[in-house]
Symmetry: C2
Subunit: 412 residues, 2 copies
């Protein structure tokens, strides 16, 4: 196991209970030895569900299952396993998701269509879903409202730390809670940063409204994170709203545009942003967290594309790993993005130090000052295009020898 | 210096003289110590010129110079330096190209507009073109028709071997020769594989015809090679035709569509293909040459995009470096390409071994057999989409810890 990322949060927040959600983890022995690999979330009746799934043309069997089942907007359970992605597994993969949902539905006492699924791990190997039979009843029996950290650990693959986030919001006169867990370390790219993430709230929010919140919220959180530009077959972000807070006076929300959602939307975004940032902090082999800001573009969309061109460039990322103030590679990445850019208006900052200005090295450039900045754990690269008002920001990490080792030395 | 790529050609061909071309190299002391860093090619009167240049929005000063001068389609000299790309150097960069062309023109006895330029190396540092003054007259005096290998060496940066190729063709009743040299090791991507390459022939081919040949020839050679998906600011491929073979009876060719060009076109493509393959063989840190073939796509264009998605995937490339038969990552890369693909029709081969068939692992899959294949120096990945007749092929290399070291440990 690689050591814990040096970018890991210094401490983890204590996640409160979410009324209507109970969790349990177990070791089903799918691939890993001596650690949990399956998570069950039991959701109370009336829980709504929404999701954003990978755009891969080769999606995993659980992604297809969720896509079909989310239309109904309701869920009673969530089963997530690590170690095997159940992707590119053909007919046996479809049988495996069906069996998993049936086993969970039987243990919980609901219909299989009310079970959402997530799988992460190796692609192409059949998932032995029968192994869930031995643990499912026990998982339901042991499910507790305070099992959040164990839940986050059960879904890890090459992750070096569990990813959790929490926030509260006022909804009407009631205080509602939002908890999120995520995994993601490699195969992280721009369309639905490749990972699994699950967000739970006790707010009474109808499925279409929850879907609207999720679709908006993903743009500047998970979709703005890239580790290696590789979009997975298994990207899954699901949100569940149990509605339990209605009993405490929270108003039932039907539409994402409801003005009463203001504070909830802020808190929801905060949870998504935190989880997404943690994914970048645990990028495989990462030693530095890189924030790329592009300003002065012709649009936000154009700024996003240029920011991703920089954040995905192997040459930029290896230079950062080497603590080399090689801003010429940032110029290269701007130039290759295919978006409007004028070399002679371009300025680049590392932190607050302007290194390039109007198409040339900054006259005040001092290598020693910039080199000192490059040794930090968190690096900010800012590009000014000088063309318009489009601005965007993405997070990534450096590309180290450890990334190559993690992905080349054994099959993850 | 990193050791010579294990993928380097076992031997280098002897390049014949090209009537009308004389070459010399020198050490101008731009950046490197103890090696040549400037190449001068002196071209006889009447030499035509054509070029394909980077599509970067932040092109280098010599790229802009060539783009403007190529319109005239003629050249009397070529000056190429390594160590400094003269890119993102603003006004001083424009002055540097002008000074370089003036110095070469004076030494050769022609106009500055008849000098083509190429620079490769660090981005953003001013190029001290004044240093060329000390060597230019000597370069012209020493220029000889047999200086090909020295020329190829003078333009190297992180290259571990010089890249040369040669072919002959019948043009009318005459035999004409084509020689090419190239450099390129990192910052190699799909639009004009990032490098400098120069091709010379004694065939009497008018500039528009030469441009047509070059534009066609680049599609399946340099544009089908990727090392790290990073398009450089300095990509430059130039072709020069001295026309000296007219004296030996070769017909003057005005149009690229001229039927008499048949054999020349074949030989010209052979030189481009060889140089492009050598660029992949010398990818920074490369230990394996990877050929990616995509068949059954809806078009050649779609096949190209899927092939590049595979060839540029860090996860595919690191798995190959680790000799891991991780075909699941090929599925991932097909899925993320955004091109038509049907998971359940997809088949994948490593060499002649079919590892996946119709959306699942091949029933006859034997890990040991595939693992043995993965240990080879040259790996072929073939993907069958089963949708149409579109087919394409790209070359790349694996992504090793050495790539990270080369690009992170010092500024190249």
């Amino acid at each position: 196991m690689p050591p814990v990322s040096p970018l890991a949060p210094k401490r983890f927040p204590a996640l409160p209970e979410i009324a209507g959600v109970r969790l349990a983890a177990a070791a089903a022995g799918l691939r890993y030895v001596g650690r949990t690999d399956v998570l069950l979330a039991v959701l109370d009746k009336g829980t709504t569900a929404a999701g954003v799934l990978t755009r891969s043309r080769c999606p995993s069997a659980p992604v297809e299952w969720c896509r079909a089942r989310l239309a109904a907007g309701a869920a009673r359970g969530l089963v997530v396993n690590s170690g095997n992605a159940n992707a590119f597994t053909g007919k046996s993969g479809r049988e495996a998701v069906k069996l998993t949902a049936e086993l969970a539905a039987k243990a919980i006492g609901c219909r299989p269509a009310q079970i959402m699924l997530g799988s992460t791990g190796v692609i192409g190997e059949p998932l032995e879903a029968g192994k869930f039979a031995a643990v499912m009843d026990d998982l339901v029996a042991r499910a507790t409202p305070d099992g959040w950290m164990d839940a986050a650990k059960a879904i890890m693959t090459t992750d070096t730390f569990p990813k959790v986030a929490t926030a509260t919001a006022k909804l009407g006169d009631a205080t509602v809670a939002i908890n999120g867990i995520a995994k993601g370390s490699g195969m992280i790219a721009m369309d639905m940063a490749t990972m699994l993430a699950f967000v739970f709230t006790d707010a009474p929010i109808a499925a279409p409204a929850l879907q609207g919140l999720l679709k908006d919220g993903v743009v500047d959180s998970f979709n703005a994170v890239t580790v290696d530009s590789d979009t997975s077959t298994s990207d899954t972000l699901l949100a569940f709203a149990t509605g339990a807070a209605r009993a405490r006076g929270a108003p039932a929300i039907a539409r994402a545009g409801d003005r009463r959602l203001g504070d909830f939307r802020r808190a929801f975004q905060q949870v998504l942003d935190s989880l997404a940032e943690q994914v970048a902090r645990d990028g495989e082999g990462a030693r530095k967290l890189i924030e790329v800001i592009v300003e002065g573009a012709t649009s936000k969309r154009s700024a996003r594309r240029i920011a991703l061109s920089i954040a995905n460039s192997p040459l930029v990322k290896t230079a950062l790993a080497g603590e080399d103030a090689n801003w010429g590679r940032v110029v290269m990445a701007v130039g290759k993005a295919g978006e409007p850019a004028d070399r002679d208006r371009l300025s680049i900052w590392f932190g607050d130090i302007r290194v390039a200005h109007k198409g040339a090295r900054d006259p005040g450039y001092a290598e020693r000052e910039v080199s000192a900045y490059m040794q930090r754990r968190e690096i900010k690269i800012r590009v000014g295009l000088g063309l318009g008002t489009g601005r965007d920001r993405v997070l990534t990490c450096d590309l180290t020898k450890e990334y190559v080792a993690i992905n080349g030395d054994y099959r993850s």
